[in-house]
């Protein structure tokens, strides 16, 4: 496939410029060994990166667990340990790491640099952020002051 020369009015130079394009495109191919080495190194970097990222299903499972169980923990923590059966837990956003965070949440995400941000929720009117820690525990953090208010070990509750 060759791209057309569609932006030069000087048609007398077409043949000359066609030769330039052909020469530009004829980059000698890499040997199989070079190509394989390049791709292997990239896949190694990918594996290392992926190891630090929880798969999406884990993020969803984690958020679900924390909203049901962790929300109760956060609720108790916010009410000084007393159970409040009627507490309201509202999920604020879909599980995502790409939505635009508020400044307070952004600051909190920066502070919690060793944990993976999952989602936000509101527990008893308090905005919390949910994080997955490197040791597979879920952390509920009050966004306003980035204080951890509850944690939950999910290693035995996810697939």
């Amino acid at each position: 496939m060759t791209t057309p020369i569609d932006d030069t009015p000087e048609s007398s130079d077409l043949a000359q410029e066609r030769a330039v394009i052909d020469a530009l495109r004829s980059v000698p191919r890499a040997t199989d060994a070079v190509r394989d080495a390049h791709i292997s190194a990239a896949l190694g970097a990918f594996t290392a990166t992926a190891r630090r990222r929880p798969p999406q299903w884990l993020s969803i499972a984690a958020a679900s667990v924390v909203l049901v169980a962790g929300g109760g923990l956060a609720g108790r923590a916010l009410s000084n340990g007393s159970d409040q059966p009627g507490q309201q837990i509202t999920r604020n956003s879909a599980v995502s790491t790409t939505s635009t965070p508020t400044p307070a949440l952004a600051a909190c995400i920066t502070t919690m640099k060793n944990a993976t941000y999952l989602s936000t929720a509101t527990v008893n009117g308090v905005d919390i952020a949910l994080f997955l820690n490197t040791n597979n525990s879920l952390l509920a953090v009050r966004i306003a002051d980035c204080t951890e208010i509850a944690s939950l070990d999910i290693s035995s509750t996810t697939p």
């Binding site: 030069t8 000359q16 410029e17 330039v20 020469a23 495109r25 190509r35 999406q56």
Partner: protein, 183 residues
């Protein structure tokens, strides 16, 4: 290799699920063009291979953040351009080889088995070295990466009109230099 017939979009989706096999296919599918972009911007063969390696690693590390707002090829070529420009900047800080003949031979790959292309390869490498990167890079993106003007404009963050004029001028300069070089 059940991935082999899948389109780029579904390979990206699989890579987002940490599927290494999907990324492997994706990188192999676009390897030649990524490498060609790097070689035509960096020119020096060793540096171009370094840029290719760095681009592939950057793609692998960044694929989770790719959000499908542009085409995957545009995104990958943009990374290749940036890796190449980084390599060019590094190369400028290195001492030049003592023997200019070595430098010239380094501009072609040792894998080239068709000796009939040798002159053209040397000519285009020499010509590319003399063209300002502002003109060279749009020409490479247009004619090596097959990107359209809008994609090039977004990649280089310059207006479409500027892209068109730089491609036209860059191509003319290359043609002129190759003609002079072959005389």
């Amino acid at each position: 290799m059940w991935h082999i017939n899948r389109d780029d979009r579904s390979l990206v989706a699989a890579a987002h699920q940490n599927d290494t096999g999907a990324l492997d296919i994706l990188l192999r599918r676009h390897y030649d063009t990524i490498r060609a972009v790097c070689h035509r911007i960096v020119i020096d063969s060793g540096g171009a291979d370094d840029a290719t390696q760095n681009a592939l690693i950057a793609i692998a590390r960044g694929i989770h953040a790719f959000d499908n707002r542009s085409s995957i090829t545009t995104w990958m070529y943009r990374i290749a351009v940036n890796a190449s420009l980084d390599e060019v900047r590094r190369t400028r800080r290195r001492p030049l080889p003592m023997d200019p003949a070595d430098q010239k031979m380094g501009a072609i790959s040792v894998t080239m088995d068709d000796m009939a292309n040798l002159d053209d390869q040397l000519l285009i490498s020499d010509a590319l070295q003399q063209v300002d990167p502002d003109f060279r890079i749009p020409v490479v993106l247009r004619h090596v990466a097959d990107m359209d003007y809008e994609e090039i404009a977004r990649t280089l963050d310059i207006p479409v009109g500027t892209v068109k004029s730089r491609i036209a001028r860059g191509r003319q300069q290359l043609a002129q230099m190759m003609t002079e070089g072959s005389l």
